[in-house]
Amino acid sequence: MAVDGFIRLDGVSKHYGLVKAVDNVSLNIPFREITVILGPSGSGKTTLLRIIAGLEKPDHGRIFFGKHDVTGKPPWERSVSMVFQEPALLPHLNAFENIAFGLEAHGLARDVVRERVLWASKLLHIESLLDKYPDQLSGGEQQRVALARALVVKPKILLLDEPLSNLDLSLREELRIELKRIQRETGITFIHVTHDQDEALELADYLVVLYNGRVVDYGEPLRVYEKPRSILAARVFGHNIVDAIECKEETVYPWMSSWRSCKGRFIKAIIPQHRIVIEKTSNAPCTIRDLVYRRNYGLAIIDCNGVLLKVSINLREMTMYSVGDKVKPIIDSKTIIR
Amino acid sequence: MRSEYKAVLAISIIVIILTISYVTIINLLQQPMVLEEGEDVVVVYTYESLLAWGPDPNKTYDVVFKGFEEKTGIRVEVRRFEDSGTMLATVIEEVKSGNVKADVVIGIDNIQIIKAKEEGVLEPYTPPNIDAVPGWLIESYDPHHYAIPYDYGLIAFVYDTEYVSDDVMEELSFETFYNTSMASTLIVEDPRTSSTGVSFLLYQITVYEKYLGRDWRDWWRNVKPRVVSSWGDAYDRFLNEEYHVVVSYATDPAYSMLFYNSTRYRAALVKYDDKMLGWLQIEGIGLVKGAPHKEAAKKFIEWFLSEEVQKEIPLNNWMYPANKYVKLPDVYKYAINMSSVEVVNLRITSEEIESSLDKWIEEWVDTISSS
């Protein structure tokens, strides 16, 4: 396998019956970084991951690991490892034996195996659990063992299929940090699939957004989030998508007075919710419909002449507003899609 | 790949150990598994109950088989089959496939001989002591000596005197069973599965068609007796007093005299024009075509027809011995005396049996089933 370069997917498609799970996906995934594939359920992200793993054969397209075409190769001939949503630990083996599984498959000597298992368990902080059986471990512990098992074979690429989705929130956040740390320590290429935006933004060095089997955006995470290149990507993030008119270098929105008179091109504006600020004024075009508490911030849903906008509000400021208040939205930055 | 080889090795070892222990134990129990090559063996195929009905079957076996071994130094390997039909079928298979293991077959009856000749599984052989067998017997069986009769039995109605009177059976005719109460006491064997059944059917057909000139199916239509698949089954039910007349052999009364000292069970044949008509089931011994130990086989056939063996027949096979020089034991006075019987076998030719038996049995099934 090549050392540096890209994992290249070239026109990869797969359908099940009439449904196209993966539709002509072409990507260049960088080595030695964390790539996150973000998409809602049914977007084909799991299928894509399984194709990279070799568990599914694509109907069209090729997959390259660096210079090597691995399209026809079965999973055991690719230098990949995988962690699934359920830990899938072999119930008849204890944690040590589970972790050692891949090493023994390659016929490594007993002491080498022992050494490596200890290394992996230290990495995941599970040294004390090694002689326990899966049914004696909690969900989080099992997932750590699964991770250790996947890492101990020192793969070039680690594939993660929403491994944290079944865990509770605090555990999830904890493990996210762990994952990043492990990646930095080991330098293994991570391809992580998730539907959780927070997770995606936290982990990704490189973000790919998938919708209905198609790649709708990709690149540096913050850029993708702030300025998505397609409406579908915006939809994945849950940004506000607003009809607007480009009117002589000014963007005019439906709640503005110049909406009727302005003549210009009709566009769609993508406005992330933290890019709007609201101001209580008397002549305001919008009304607060709802105030919602999220964990670290508040959300105000305002109705502006029939258009609903989501606005992030600092929790400290939440108390200043009530439902029914008249407010004026000030848009900080937006992306324009023609 | 290590575990792959380990597993295959482990299983192979288990199999080998098992097989070796098996073969060793079998040998220890002194039953040789492999037939030795060479002329000092003769392989005999016969049916299970050959000579097995006497007071001491083990002794009889020793007389017949060990006796031959002692006399000639040739070892006898006997293979017994469920019945003579299976035996014949196996021999036919062997000859057809060219893998002949049998040398001698014992138990081909006068109906099977037709088939055996047709399939070409026997080689004609005339033993030196052929004259001990009556000419009429050979004529009735096979004049070409593909097989030689070694005994014969008379199909008879065996009845329980506690339920059926001697007077009725003295004047027995087939029509006696047209009486419903008589019909309900009768049990008969299925010609499709029992050689006794086939013989009885032929008996009845021959008497009706050749002697009386009537449609044989009438009898079955009118009587509709209980039919069971084997002689053993029929006889058991008879002994169990479920049925009181059973189609069996004329020597049965002698059997019950010897074993139970009882004259309760007697035998009767049908009488027409004051003549007792009887059908013989003749059993023969033959040389298998392509027998691996031909000379030994010939010696055995001669031995089997000799007085030494034939004198065992009456009390152990409960049939009349073919060897005319053998005196019947005293107890045979309770059996039907052959000299007073008119044998009807010769009224029907083997060709006719060969071509019509299938059809007759088909018609029989039809007649019996339509009720």
């Binding site: 079965p74 | 575990s3 792959e4 098996y22 134990i25 039953q31 299925d190 599965t193 209980r226 479920e242």
Partner: protein, 525 residues
Amino acid sequence: MNTRLLIVLAIVTLIVYLPVVYGLKDAFLYKNVFTLRNIVEVLSRKSIQNSLRFTFTQALISSIIATVAGSITAFSLLTIGFRKAWILRALSIIPFMAPPMVVVTGFTSLYGLHGVVSNIIPWTKVLGYGFWAIIAAHAFYNIPLSINFVYSSLVSIPREVVDTLHVFGFGRFMYVLRRVIVPYILPAVFSSFTLTFIYCFTSFAIPLTLGGVGCSTLEVYIYYYYKIMYKPGLAASIALIQYIILLSIVALFIYFHGRTFTAPIGYRHYRLSLRKSLKTILSIILVIVYIYLYAPLVAIVYQAFYNPYTKTYGLEGFYRVLQLGYDSGLGVSTGVVYVNTVYYALMTGLLAIILSTIIVYYGGRIVDTLYASLLAVSPLTLSLGLLRTYSWYIPSYFLIILAHTIAALPLTTRVLRIGFERVGKKYIEVAHVLGEKGLPLFLRVVYPLMKPSYLVALSLALVVSLGEFGATLFISTPDTMTLGVAIYSYRGVRDWAAAASAASILLLLTASILLLLSRRMERWL
């Protein structure tokens, strides 16, 4: 998949099917010429047409009765509770394995003219002879099938489903039954129905002995044309027709069996609350069915001690059967018979397990159907085929092992197939990604997760071998006789007590194996 192992599968299939082809080829030969006249002849005979109609009808009715009775009994097992049910389940298989000749004797002694039961309850006489006797005997044999199939499925209904209904106040039993339970167990019911149908269709000893002339199944005619009339062309033609007819039923069986629910590993069982009156009724049904199943077996054991000629009781039967020296009635030492029986059983167990593993691992639905269709081959034809194909090169004891294995394969492949599917793709995928494949994958991942199925398959193979009778009778020589054939030989020399004693020993062996292995298996569930 792996081409190397696909070749292995092909070879195995060839070894198993070549005898079938060789046995059936007579159907197309008349005086060594390829022709269809045998088949035409056979189909035009009225006796065969009637027989076909009869075979079908009795199979249908027997299957319906056996399936209904078995399903209700399976339900009754629920009232006992899961822990204790395993004993009854294991015990129910014993009647299934009892040698047919012996069962017939048992039936006759119970329901026949002088039967024990028919003397007390006169109407049961109809079960002693005739059409209904055949049905009753077939039901006896096959109720255990439905009991086991349906119970497995019944007990696999996800707990949450039952709990949900309870929570929502739909505790009413009939509702739960109709909406939940019946749809879940329907595939199991149908799969046991189709399997029972196949067994009843190919039944031979029972219709022959308990039925009259009009009650001849196709197997009886195969026997007749082959053994008595020696017209192998006709015999094989009937066997061929039977095979083709049953192929569709076999396909149905595979279909339903594949859709049967079985509990995943580590499943926790639900509790069903039943009204007391219902519980009582079910318990009574349970008792009656088990009495029905075991009465003939008890009759058999009773016969072992009873000499019908002298009308006395004694142990002569057992003495004869347990002395290990030469027995002229058998033509071989009894000791040899025991050694044979055990050896063949062990080898069959091994061979069946190995072959089934290969079949299940690399086959699919078509392969499954192919192997299950071995059930549709007449044992007579199969034995003939085996002799023709292999007797040149293989000692007869191995032929017997092969015949037993072929008899066991349909069952063991099903059991292992279900077990294999329960393992689930996930573990195999994990192993693949970690670099494990092929035989090591099987040994390290699949087999450990399938151990209970292997135990069941092994016990089935052993028990099938012990009870196999038809093919063994045909192929065996005195040297290679098994206990099952010995029973038949004892009957041939009219020693009923010895026959019953041998049968009792066989039943004891069967029961021990089933109970022992079931016990260990339950622990793993």
